[in-house]
Structures are given as C-alpha cells and as structure tokens.
C-alpha cells in the first residue's frame, strides 16, 4: 500500500494515529449499526479488529515489510488487548462467548455440523502445522544480530591508547579552539525535514564558506574525507544506500536513522571506524559487517573529522553521559 505515503519524520506517530482513527471509525460504525438493531456480535467484532490490525494494517499498510518476529509480538499483544476488551465486564464476556458455547452445545443442525467440522478440522490443522514445521527448510537461519556490541574500555589506534569513556573529539571546538559540544550542537544542520543548513551566508554554519573556521571548517574537511572514502557504501545522503550498498546484506548503517549514531558516543563510533568489522568483539555476533579497519587507511585526525561530519550532516548529537 505504498501509494498512501508514510511521511518521513512523522512515521511513528502517523502509524499510531492511523490505527487510532481506524479503531474509532469501527467503534462509530458499530454504534450506528447497534442503533439500527444490527450490531456486530462481540465475538466477530473481536476477530475482525484483530484481523484488521495484524493481517491487513501491519502486513500491507506499513512498508518496508515488518519482519515476522515483530508481527508475531504485535499479534500476540493485540490478541491480549482484544481479550481484555471483550471480557472487561461480565456482560461483555457472556456476549463474547455466546457463539462459542452455542457451537459447543450444538442445539440445532447448523451448530451440530459446525461443531463436527471444527472437531475434525482442528486436529487436522494442528497436524498440518506440525508436519510443515518438521519439514526440512532451506531458508537461511534467523539471526539475532548484536548491532552495537559493548566497546572495549580502551582502544589503541596508531600507537596511541584511547579510553573510550573519557576521550574527547579533538575537533569539536568553538571559534577560539576550545572543546565545546554546546557550540557545535548549536551549529549542526536544521533538525526539520530536509535537514538544510541553518544559514548559508554564515561562516559559523556553512562549512563551504571561505571564512569558516574552527568546528565548521573541520566539518568540511570531514566531508571531503567522507566523499573520498565512505559514501560508496554509506551513500551521499548518509542513509546507507551508496553505490555498493546493495552488494551487502545487511546494507551499510543508515546514519540518518535514529537508532544508529544518534544512540552512540563519538568515541564508540571512533572505535568502530578505526577497527572496522574485523575488529568487532565476540559479543558482536554474527559479525555481519564488511567495514574495513579504517585505521589502515586514515589518520586519527581524519577519523575524528569524518565522524564530526556524519553528526553535522544528519543533524544528530552524539551521546554523552554527563
């Protein structure tokens, strides 16, 4: 259902709002039907709501497709929610289970047939499920990848040891050359959609300004390094969709996603860039990263600068613990 766009930047709230509107719409419809004397029985209302959320909305409305494990979680939770709704009061519970009891009691010909059919189909269905589960599968196994394993306490790059908890980005400085995260945070690109530069005419905001100095000048230097080395995989928009990206699975990290560099300390990113996929610790199973150890190609200064460019371009702030 890609024709109905999910608006970038608003997608999480859009999904919740759409679901709320749909549920409200169902409630109003059911209310009107009840008024007309043809209300949907609670049993079918519960089943319909569950099917709508899980078999339609989450499966076809949300794109890209949601992995099965998450849909299974959502399906279970929504089933619990529907149970809570239909059994919230004794009257509703009695109403909900009336068709079930009616089929089990089988007081007329139709329910007798239905009960017999169910009693036959249920074990058959379970048998078929067991059979298909036991069939050998040639699918690739499911993986639980640790994307951000815990870093070591220290890392040695070009002969110097860095304590990751306390090391600082040397180029995150103000116009006077002092380490100042607040200054750099105030001069990253605009946070809204499009992520445009704040002021193209300002030497404090525009890295390409010939008079740019300090932090913003180092951002430009980082950008040059990025486009010489990193954009082939991570993409010119830093969204992990570079020229070579789709040769890999998973594709390279999408820095514009709120779950990647926005969640990490700069020193963590420094360690990951310097050591690459081959330097992932045991915890980083299954080590699904082809990133080269950039310490073999870049200097320490170049690594710091490219990291700063990534934060500037995406508009995210590095994680700090103070």
């Amino acid at each position: 259902m890609t024709w109905l766009k999910l608006v970038e930047g608003y997608m999480p709230m859009q999904m919740i709002t759409e679901l709320a509107v749909c549920i409200l719409f169902f409630s109003i419809c059911n209310y009107l039907l009840k008024k007309a004397g043809i209300g949907v029985p609670k049993f079918w209302a519960g089943i319909l709501v569950w099917c709508f959320i899980n078999l339609f909305y989450l499966k076809y409305r949300i794109y890209p497709p949601i992995p099965f494990s998450v849909r299974a979680i959502y399906g279970t939770v929504s089933a619990c929610g529907i149970f809570m709704w239909v059994s919230g009061s004794q009257e509703e519970w009695l109403e909900f289970k009336r068709p079930i009891i009616s089929v089990l009691d089988a007081n007329n010909a139709f329910t007798k047939v239905l009960r017999t059919a169910l009693l036959l189909l249920l074990p058959l269905g379970l048998g078929a499920f067991a059979y298909s589960s036991l069939l050998p599968s040639f699918d690739e196994p499911i993986e639980l990848r640790t994307v951000h394993p815990a870093p070591p306490a220290t890392t040695k790059v070009h002969g110097k040891t860095y304590v990751l908890q306390t090391a600082q980005q040397p180029y995150r400085i103000d116009t006077e050359g002092k380490y100042d995260p607040a200054y750099s945070n105030a001069h990253i690109v605009d946070q809204s959609m499009g992520r445009l530069m704040k002021d193209v005419n300002s030497s404090e905001d525009n890295p390409w300004d010939p008079n740019a100095k300090g932090y913003i000048k180092h951002v430009r230097e980082g950008g040059e390094i990025f486009f010489q080395n990193c954009h082939f995989c991570h993409g010119d928009n830093l969204n992990g969709r570079g020229l070579w990206a789709f040769a890999f699975n998973p594709i390279p990290a999408n820095f514009t996603d709120a779950g990647t560099i926005a969640q990490l300390q700069e020193t963590f990113v420094f360690w990951r860039v310097a050591k690459g996929g081959i330097g992932l610790p045991g915890e980083g199973f299954p080590w699904a990263s082809v990133m080269p150890p950039w310490e073999q190609h870049l200097t320490v200064d170049e690594i710091w600068k490219v990291i700063m460019f990534e934060y500037w371009h995406t508009g995210y702030y590095p994680r700090t613990w103070d």
Partner: protein
C-alpha cells in the same frame, strides 16, 4: 500455639510483652555488638594498617629471611600497599590476591552437570523465598498499623486477622529460606570452592554478622508470631507492632549485607587490581552499585511479596466452598495486590537509577545490558512489565463488577485497552529485530524506518508512562466504583482531573517525540518531566479523588466475593509474571559480568564462562519459576492445614464480618 494459652492477668501480659520487646532489642543489637568486637579484632582493619596477626606473621617471615642472610640488618618490615580499584585510595594489602583459577577439578569440582546451572537454581530459589519472607513482615507492619488506627472496630479486627494470616504464611516459608540458604552455601563450597573462599576472605568481617542477623531475625519473628494473642490490646499492641518494626530493620540489614556481595562481584571496591583486600570493609560494602541495588531490591521484594500473598488469596478464593470464605479471600487478594502494585509503580524508576549507575560505573556493562548482548532479555523484561500493568488494569476492571455503579465505567474500558496496547507495543518493540537474512534484505537495512523509532529510549519512556498513567486512571475509577462525589466543587474537580490527565498524557507524548531532536544527555533528562507528570497523576489525583469522595453518596455495597474467577486468574498471572521477571533480571544482572567471577578482578576460568542462549536461559528461568510455585503451593497447603473451617452462614455483602474469616489454628 499462642491462642491456646490460658488467660493471663493484664500485669502479667504487660510484663511478658516488655520482656519480649527487650529480647527483640537484644537480638537486634547482638550482631552490632559482636561485629564491633570482630572489627576491633582486625576484621575490618580500617585504613590504619593490617591486623596484628598479619604483622606478626610478616615479622616472623622477615626474621626467618634475615636468619637466612637475605636481609640487611636493621631493615624495617616492608608493608605492601595497594590502590583501591574503585575509590583510588592507597591501603595496606592485607588480603591475599584473587586466585587465578584454571579449568580443573581443584578449582572447579563438578558433577556430570553444568555447575553454573546448579548454582543458579539454588541461588534463585533461596532468593525467591528470601524476598518473600523479607517482604511479608513489612506488609504485616502496615496492615497491623492500619488495624490499630482504624476507628471501626470490625475493620480493625479484620486488618489484624489479615496481618496474622500474612505472617502465618511466611513462617513456613521462613524455614524453607534457611534450608535453601544452607543448600546454596554447600553448592558454593562443593562446586566453586576457590571463588567462595576468596569471597568469604574479603567479607570475613561481616560474614558472621550476617549469620547472627539471621538468628536475630528468627528470634524476633517467632516472638512476634507467637506473641500475637498475648499482645492484642492497648499498649501491648504497640509493643507488638514495635517488634515488627525491629523485625523489618533486621531484615533490611540482612538484605543489605547480602546485596553487598553481589554488588562487589559486579563493581568491586576495597581491593586492589590483584584483588587484595585493603583493610577497609566499608569500601568493600559500599561499592558503586550497592545503594541502587538495595533500593531496587526492597521495592522488588515488596512487589513480589504482595504478588505471592495475592496468589495465595486467589488460590484460596478459587478453592472456597462458602460465600464467607470467598468474601474474605477476595478482600485479602485485593489488599495484597494493591500493596504489591503500590511498590510496582516506583520500581521502574528505581531500575532506571540502577542502570544509570551501571553506565556511570562501566559504560561497556551498560551497553552490554541495554544495547548489546543482553538487550533482547530487556525486551522480554519490558514484556513482563507490560503484562504486570495490563493484568493489574484487568483486575481493577473486573473488580468494578462487584460494585453497584461500577458498570458506568466499564463501557469506557475499550479506550483504555487501546492506550495500554499501543503503549505496550511501543515499549516492547525491539531495537535489534530478529529476522532472516531475506527479511533483512526486504527491509533495506538493520533498522525499520517506522518501527525503528519505537526501539529507542525516548519512545519507550513515553510508552511506559502512558501505561502507568492509564493504570492510575483505572485505579481512580475503581475508587469511584460505588460512590458519587457530593462535594460542592465536584463538577470543577472532575473537569480539573480530566484536564490534568489529558495534559499529563500530551506532555508525555510530546516529550517522547521531542526526544528525537535533542542531544542524548538532554534527552535522558527529559525522563524527569515525563515521570513527574506520571507521579503527579498518582500523588495529586488519587488524594484529590479521595477528597471528592469523602462523604460521597454510596450507590450500593461492595459485594466482596462476587467477582468473576477471571480476576483471580489475573492475580495468579500477576504473581507468576513477578516471579518470572525476578528470575530474568537476576540472570541479566549476574550474566553481565560475562567471564568474570568478580568484575575485572577474578576471572571465571570454568568451562561455563560463556553467555547462555536466550532460549536456554528462558528455560532455566521457567524451571525456577515452576519449582518455586510448586514448593510455595506446598507451603499454602500447609497453611490450609492450620486453618479452622468456618461454619457456613448467610451470604456475605459489604462489609465482610470480621468473624467470617477463617480462624488461624492454635499453633503453627
């Protein structure tokens, strides 16, 4: 036993009560007195230097070396010093270094089974029972006090009976706690002798204090229980309550001491890099994570204890044959569950503090827990927390059904269900999704562009706060179930409460979204106004609601016992979820040390120094939960043996007659 005694004169009773209180006081101070003696004898050592016997030994060794011509005449005996790994202070290296173990029978004797799992089971069972018996006396204290200050005689008697019921259940569990503690020590000694030897050498100054505190706890508990009847009236009742206070003080000290061992294993202090004790026992006890663990465990124990007692009441409710019994156990379950939930609400905040301290102590430890290897276990934990809150709401909605007038709220349940389900879905959406490589490719990257946003902290804070606020609203509805406010300002009050809840929820959602656009350190700070909104709903709206209901019009009585059995299954589920979550969090806390017995000081070189798969861990946790519930059912069954049958009389409506509750047996 207490209730079979022949009547005593008031003077005699008072004398007995005061004697009992003095004995309890002596029990309380005994470990302190003995510990002072022990510490003075060199156990603690302080920072002044090694104990005399160590110095003597060193002098003797130096003399022997001198005799062998190895030292220059007149040279002083050199006292080696070490630097505290946490406090960074210098101190005399009094203890031996942590043993460097190897994978052999000397360091790790074993059966044909994984020693770690055996220890895990023994430890967990001891912890379950320990938590229960430490929590129940705190409930007793509160309930007994509620009975004493109640002006309604019938209610006072009911509360007193309830407190007695609680302590009766915990007494059998107390014996089991001691037995399980013995099993745990034997397991340590037989399977991990080197590690246990090291740990006990570090904690030598307080090991016996712990044992004596346990003795003191037992003594006071028995006096408290068996003295129930003798100290029933007047000032004697206050003496009795005082003993419960003493009992809880001792229990808390006991728990703090036990916590110090696990805190030391996670964040050692008071030792140098080699693990040598530096003579300051306070540093060893007061490690980086000790206090957050203490607070978290007190709250956790209370929530767990409330859950177990509520499950007992639910079990008795479901097996009741009379209306009187059903009414009593319905009420008991409600009280226990309310107490448990009251401590459940602040528990996530205490957990938040603990995690903050973990990050402050070691960033790697925090990332391993929340973002790395163990992150998926936190998703399971989030699911369990969600189950706890959803179940609580469900119980309250069912309980509305036993009130005349409660049905006017039940039609709105579906809206609360929606908020709860959406909040939970956000709260449990994993950051690292389990998927096949094909799904990964179809998704176009590791993070889902829509759901990925739910996987980070900002959204999750919003999710859990929405759930808690909804739970508070359910509780306020429950309070109003059969009552209508009649105060002159009730209309204004209702509007104010409604607006307050809406604003708090909007504030919560806005901050959850805003968190994506600000630096991480500011984002972490946003949790404060979010939590403040939630707590304001709890601490302002609940009393306001009570004030509005004061003198309110009753629509009808609370029909205790007339609640659907589903509610009781919900209580049992609540208790099971507590138990499962305790097992899970214990495993997470322990396994974050990875391959260390004592983090960065003593390495685990056993063949089991690896992290279990999630599936295996979940199976062992489930086994522990099952084992606990089977054994506690046995304890419950013993409890029923001690209860007299009550004669069936007329059906019960509000209030439950005090005499209708099952009477305790003559002895335990």
């Amino acid at each position: 036993m207490g209730r079979l005694f022949t009547p005593m004169t008031r003077g005699k009773k008072r004398f007995s009560a005061v004697t009992a209180l003095i004995v309890a006081g002596v029990f309380l101070t005994l470990p302190i007195i003995l510990s002072v003696t022990a510490l003075a004898g060199g156990g603690g050592g302080g920072a002044s230097g090694p104990p005399a016997e160590v110095l003597e030994q060193r002098k003797a060794a130096a003399a022997a070396a001198a005799a062998a011509g190895e030292t220059v005449e007149g040279e002083e005996v050199k006292i080696e010093t070490g630097r505290d790994v946490y406090y960074k202070t210098e101190g005399p290296a009094v203890g031996m270094p942590a043993p460097i173990t190897a994978d052999n029978e000397t360091f790790y004797p074993r059966y044909n089974f994984e020693s770690r799992v055996l220890l895990w089971v023994a430890n967990q069972q001891h912890l379950y029972y320990g938590s229960f018996v430490l929590a129940v006396p705190i409930f007793c204290m509160c309930i007994e006090l509620a009975g004493m200050i109640s002006k309604d005689k019938a209610m006072a008697k009911k509360y007193d009976q309830l407190a007695y019921d609680f302590i009766r259940i915990s007494l059998t569990a107390y014996s089991l706690t001691a037995i399980l503690g013995g099993i745990l020590i034997f397991t340590f000694l037989t399977l991990y002798p080197a590690f246990f030897g090291y740990l006990s050498s570090i904690f030598r100054p307080v090991m016996h204090i712990y044992a004596l505190t346990f003795v003191a706890e037992s003594g006071v508990l028995y006096i408290y229980y068996y003295g129930w009847d003798k100290m029933r009236e007047g000032v004697l009742k206050w003496v009795h309550l005082s003993m419960c206070v003493i009992l809880n003080v001792i229990g808390t000290v006991l728990m703090f001491l036990a916590n110090s061992w696990i805190a030391f294993m996670m964040s050692p202090a008071g030792v140098d890099e080699q693990g040598r004790y530096l003579g300051n026992i306070w540093h060893v006890l007061h490690t980086a994570l000790w206090n957050p663990l203490n607070v978290h465990r007190i709250l956790g124990n209370m929530a767990f204890g409330g859950g177990v007692v509520a499950a007992y009441a639910a079990y008795r409710f479901l097996s009741s044959t009379t209306d009187e019994e059903r009414a009593h156990y319905d009420w008991m379950g409600y009280i226990a569950m309310s107490l448990g939930v009251a401590f459940l609400i602040p528990l996530p905040f205490a957990g938040y503090w603990l995690m903050r301290e973990v990050y402050a102590y070691r960033q790697q430890m925090g990332i391993t827990l929340m973002g790395g290897l163990l992150a998926w276990l936190f998703i399971i934990q989030a699911t369990m927390i969600g189950i706890l809150f959803l179940t609580t709401n469900y119980y309250l909605w069912q309980a509305l059904g036993r009130m005349t007038g409660g049905e006017r709220f039940q039609k709105y349940i579906k809206y609360l269900v929606f908020i709860l389900v959406v909040g939970l879905l956000v709260f449990i959406t994993p950051h690292t999704i389990v998927m096949s490589p094909a799904e990964l490719k179809a998704m176009g990257g590791q993070q889902h562009p829509v759901l990925g946003n739910y996987g980070v902290m900002s959204a999750k804070n919003g999710g859990i706060n929405a759930i808690i606020m909804t739970t508070i609203l359910s509780f306020i509805w429950y309070q109003r179930g059969n009552k209508v406010p009649t105060v002159s300002w009730s209309k204004f009050g209702n509007i104010f409460m409604g607006v307050f809840f809406i604003v708090a929820q909007i504030n919560n959602i806005f901050l959850a979204c805003y968190g994506y656009f600000i630096p991480a350190n500011v984002r972490i700070g946003l949790s404060v106004p979010q939590v403040a909104g939630t707590l304001s709903c709890l601490l302002l709206m609940t009393p306001l609601n009570l004030a509005m209901l004061k003198g309110g019009r009753e629509l009808g009585p609370i029909k205790w016992g007339q609640i659907p059995p589903r509610s009781q299954y919900a209580i049992i589920m609540l208790a099971t979820a507590f138990t499962w979550m305790m097992g899970l969090m214990g495993y997470i806390r322990s396994s974050v040390r990875l391959f260390w017995h004592v983090n960065e000081v003593m390495r685990d070189n056993s063949p089991w120094a690896y992290t279990h798969t999630i599936g295996f861990a979940a199976n062992v946790i489930s086994f522990n939960v099952l084992f606990f519930w089977i054994s506690i059912m046995f304890v419950f069954w013993l409890g029923t043996l001690g209860a007299k049958k009550v004669a069936v009389s007329k059906p019960v409506s509000d209030p439950v007659p005090a005499g209708a509750s099952p009477q305790p047996a003559a002895g335990h």
